[in-house]
Symmetry: C2
Subunit: 177 residues, 2 copies
Amino acid sequence: MNFELNEAIALLERTPAALAALLSGLPEGWLACNEGEGTWNAAEVIDHLIEGERTNWMPRLAFILQEGEDKPFPPFDRFAHLAEGEAASTDERLQTFKAAREESIEKLKSLVQSEHQLELTGMHPAFGVVKVRELLSTWVVHDLTHIAQIARVLAERYRTDVGPWVEYLGILNRTGK
Amino acid sequence: MNFELNEAIALLERTPAALAALLSGLPEGWLACNEGEGTWNAAEVIDHLIEGERTNWMPRLAFILQEGEDKPFPPFDRFAHLAEGEAASTDERLQTFKAAREESIEKLKSLVQSEHQLELTGMHPAFGVVKVRELLSTWVVHDLTHIAQIARVLAERYRTDVGPWVEYLGILNRTGK
């Protein structure tokens, strides 16, 4: 096990800035591209991250701390953000994500103040018993998943343009398609 | 084909800041972790990116513009950076990459000033004839490959910590291992 709360927070608090540094001001062609029908563009990934701040990570943490294993926490709708259809620019989305993340980290720090709380357990509707530590680790890896996804989505745009180099570019050979 | 020089530059100039936002000041546990024996940690990936600025992208572009298809360009040693063993901190590496990238983009702008140059051709030692446009597209996708790689390397550190969520986290199921 490698999880340390302060290290996890160090990563969680960097994600919004990393995404902003990559995406803010980027030409629309990059921001609008996706990996084909039914896949997300960068803006939709940010919406998904915002949705996670609002309905997944800290709500689930609070639920575990309050209910323990007695009640399964409500499932998280991974596609909720697509229904909302917010008409925000990418920069507004990045700002919203940054603010929501700051709020989540504030909340995390106030809710988890001792090591033993990391071992407290809740009831995942599909997995059964899960620990606070596992939830928080997942939050970090979920960020990294979506940073990697955005890089992959952007790379996809040049699939044909790279010509014969496609062979050397692992990122273009990773999608399960 | 999607390649546009100004859009490619927009992405290339964002990579150093995106990596700095993610990695600068991150606890050593994150910076030192890799995906196991023979794989790179984040610092080694940055060294590889620096090496690319010095010996791959702009040198190859200049070579194509000068030699055309007459001479194959020297192969790029993708592991050169590992031999150098520079004793630099991650922040120093990030600074070096930022400066080297700025210099590369300056050079790119001075070397390529018209659309038709994108179609000029050179001789790749393995692939045969390649276009300037393909080289530059590859540079962009190469950046994105390594952004995704760093995210994947960091995620690997919590493989066990996420517990049952490993099933939902695609990034932990992507390595060919």
